[in-house]
């Protein structure tokens, strides 16, 4: 948990400051605990969807059904885009730690653009797809998995938009480093889920 340790000195959330932990021992800030714990619940949510998808795959002779053509190459490209966006967000956090506001906003902006590209591609893929959610169980799982993931990406974009707004507004006194770190945890998580999903939908045959 190297990341959590680093945040300890940086955290300035009020109640942690007034409650500095037992006998000088470092204490994990509540915000970090909260976000990590929340993400673990998100993980279980996606596990539920994956479990359904694996069961259906195991019980179905032809999976995916005939007539389903997926652009593996194109999805791979946008998987890479999403992975890169994790790195750029990491750079944004690093900049924030250096107190480099401009750098933080810049890298956040890049991340936002990459994320938007990903969502846009997914929208196009939906539009082009030869099947819909109601074509067959495969279609249902495809749209449920990618749809819930897409919603999480959009949620992440809104979160980062808010972070940009908070940082660039000069009056803001918000504790930007912890906020951005939490954004990053979330975003890395959403990326990770996508990588598993990509492998499940596009690679394993």
């Amino acid at each position: 948990m190297a990341a959590t340790r680093e945040t300890i000195q940086l955290d300035d959330v009020d109640h942690v400051a007034t409650n500095p932990g037992r006998s000088g021992e470092p204490r994990i800030p509540a915000l970090a605990v909260g976000v990590i714990v929340w993400l673990s619940s998100e993980l279980m949510f996606f596990s539920g969807l994956f479990a359904a998808s694996f069961t259906l795959r195991a019980k179905t002779a032809v999976w995916p059904p005939a007539g389903v053509e997926l652009g593996v190459g194109r999805a791979a490209i946008f998987t890479v885009v999403l992975i890169i966006s994790s790195f750029t967000l990491h750079l944004a956090v690093a900049a924030a730690r250096r107190d480099d506001r401009v750098g933080a906003v810049r890298w956040l902006g890049v991340t936002l653009i990459l994320g938007t590209l990903f969502v846009a591609n997914q929208g196009l893929e939906y539009a082009d797809a030869s099947f819909s959610i109601s074509s067959h169980a495969y279609g249902s799982m495809f749209y449920l998995l990618t749809g819930f993931h897409g919603l999480h990406v959009i949620g992440g974009l809104l979160l980062m938009g808010a972070a940009v707004w908070m940082i660039s507004g000069s009056t803001s006194r918000a504790p930007k480093v912890p906020t951005m770190e939490m954004c990053a945890y979330y975003w890395h998580f959403v990326d990770l889920v996508w990588v598993v999903m990509f492998a499940n939908i596009y690679l394993i045959k």
């Binding site: 409650n19 037992r22 929340w38 619940s41 479990a51 179905t60 959610i133 109601s134």
Partner: protein, 550 residues
Amino acid sequence: MTLIADRPSAHSEDDEPLPRGLLAVLTSTDHKRIGVAYMVTAFFFFIVGGGLAEIIRLQLWTANSPVVSESTYNQVFTMHGSVMLFLFIGPFAFGMANYFVPLQVGARDMAFPRLNAMSYWFYLFGGITMLSGFLSSSGAADFGWTGYAPMSSISRTPGVGVDLWIMALVLVGLSGVLTAVNVLATVISMRARGMTMFRMPIFTWNMTVTSILVLISFPVLTAAAAMLFADRHFGAHVFDIANGGQPIIWQHLFWFFGHPEVYIVVLPYFGVVTEIFPVFSRRPVFGYGGIVLATFAIASLSVGVWAHHMFATGAVTNSYFSGVSMLIAIPTGVKFFNWIGTMWHGQITFTTPMKFSLGFLVTFLIGGISGVLIAAAPIDLAVHDSYFIVAHMHYVLFGGSVFALFAGLYYWFPKISGKMLDKRLGTFHFWMTLVGFHLTFFVQHILGAQGMPRRIASYPLIGNWQLMNRISSVGAFLLGASILPLLWNVWRSLRRGEPAGNDPWDGQTLEWATTSPPPPHNFDEPLPPIHSSRPLWDLKYPEASSGTHS
């Protein structure tokens, strides 16, 4: 000498008393207010769920002669089970956690007070959503609290009540997850100086483990609910066999949630009685480490037994699920013997909380043992979906959780309100509950073994089924009436109860070290030094302080 442990220093300005009145309660982010709001709301749902149960028992009073139509009956038992499990017994435990976890670890509030208020609102809104199904023209959901596919498909249960039920599950589930996040963050990050994890009171420990289980299981139910909703309204086919779906997936996901859920609703109450036995025996908890370990063992096993609800499907490995289910008897047994060991050599006083805790021990014991019976797959195949199962679940849910809930209510009411509850009324309530309970549910074991299926709107006149059903119904009416002395007791106490003082029970844990009710930021006086799991006892009886389990 300094008694000061870690005392919040920054609250001098905001020390003025909290505003009073309804609006203040509604807008408050104080963990105690939210805790009380949770408990009051949950208790309201208990009465609603109990009222529905009384309709069930009225319906079954006479063979072949229904009081309500079969369709209404199906809605009634579905909503009875759903209300009791989703809106009453779990949320009540979260209310107690909200109130007492921060106090027990010496914190001034929960980690995220506003998130806390939000979870309460999700819960309340979810509850109203679920019940509002009764107002729709097609009625409330009517496929049992387990909502098996493909009964739940839009063509078979088109009613909007079902959709409201699904949405309620999502809302209440979200509320539970947010509360769990809050409890864990509070426990990990907000403990007072000296309050190491292994000095936390067992109630707090059990809420910690419960929260972990919530995080593991609730989101899976949310996922299942989302897929069901997509099937119903967006044309998806996850559970639709005609288009390549698999109805059995619902059962796996539902029970992957549902089995941990039954421990989610019992572990907090195990925690409650583990607070009570030591106090009224004037002893420390026997085998503290073992109890914590047993709690973790129960939790870990509980995520691996879901298919013991599915023995009859022929789609699971019965011996595996059978074995793991039986294993749970071992850590639960450890807890039982720890409770007995706590009382052993003690100086036991039979206060109302203690009576209910003992009632819990005796009743839960029977429910646990019937659980081991049905964990044997061949036996379960004989009694599955019969009244034997109804008996089992009420022995554990009511005999376990609700008895302990009453124990906790009598125990902590003085702290929350500053007033004592009347002991004679409490005793009366206890005996009425105990007798009513066993009258209602004991015969159901026999009915089930003799072949009476559950979830039937009417039964044939076989053997002495009608007599046994009537015994059960009389018991249920007594049980329903037993909440009257409780409500009267609470009402009377609030108006002219005896003042409780800070520490009416000679308590051991930190919540008794502050005023009753506690001030806005919980502790105006310095905390006692924390060298063990019972700092207050150590302070009061330094010569008898154990100082063990550090």
